[in-house]
Symmetry: C2
Subunit: 130 residues, 2 copies
DNA sequence: TATACTGCATTAGTGAACTAGTGCAGTACG
DNA sequence: CGTACTGCACTAGTTCACTAATGCAGTATA
């Protein structure tokens, strides 16, 4: 797991997305303990608070639950929640695009076309602004 | 034209998008003079610099051109540029969504489904966070 | 109970984005 | 030339998101 400090995406969000992906992919099993705040902070060379912020986000999404003094664990409904959350995010992104397209007067056909075009080009790492 | 100061979207961007929409819709004709910085600033009760920043964005997009001492005018290729620009923005938004969906492991069929779902619900003003 | 782990709350520093204040430079016109 | 408009450049203040430093509170184990 690598953190890109130069990215415009905040660190805590990168971490959250990484773990979210991991849970979604089944790397972390339900009720399994996640790396502790300090352990992960040490590994990634960031402040424990940054890690906590990432975990907070995941907790709000119902992906993990925390036990004070024990640790953080993967929620049972994590995969379901992860999918649901991802779907919401995706939907939101699409809604944004559609809103833009509509306000520009693009007809639905054109919007569909642009979408298909985007979906077609699979390999596109648009991340990383210096 | 109204400005929402409570929105998380910066004022200059709201203005830019409004004018962009206006040009795209044909409200402003090519070579027609746009409201001066101070005039529009007075009308919207903001600083002229904020207006200028909006115009800068539009100029970068090739929508308007400026003549020092004369004013700001709609570019001839404005409509074309506006469409192109909008299409880029839309494409970017879609790409974001697709990227999210992929990293969550959603299959393409599912992605298409979510998109269609978003496109279906036409009226959705998701703006305005306090 | 002492120790060593866990999450959590409070506060502070830093940097970037946004907006505003002010003055300079170019153009048209009487 | 002087006036009144135009865009533009420079500087400063404000706000907010992000990250970090530090200390408190809960839990297991010897």
């Amino acid at each position: 797991m690598s953190i890109n400090s130069n990215s415009h995406v905040p660190i805590f969000r990168q971490i959250a997305e990484h773990i979210r992906t991991g849970i979604s992919a089944g790397i972390y099993q339900p009720d399994e303990m996640l790396p502790s705040l300090r352990a992960l902070a040490l590994e990634l060379v960031v402040n424990p608070n940054t890690i906590q912020r990432a975990y907070e986000e995941l907790e709000r999404e119902g992906l993990v639950y925390s036990r004070r003094g024990l640790g953080l664990f993967v929620a049972r409904q994590a995969v379901r929640s992860a999918r649901s959350q991802s779907q919401d995010d995706v939907e939101k992104a699409f809604a944004d695009g559609i809103r833009l397209a509509r306000s520009a007067g693009l007809p639905d056909d054109e919007i569909r076309h642009v979408f298909s075009k985007s979906l077609a080009r699979k390999m596109d790492k648009t991340g990383g602004k210096s």
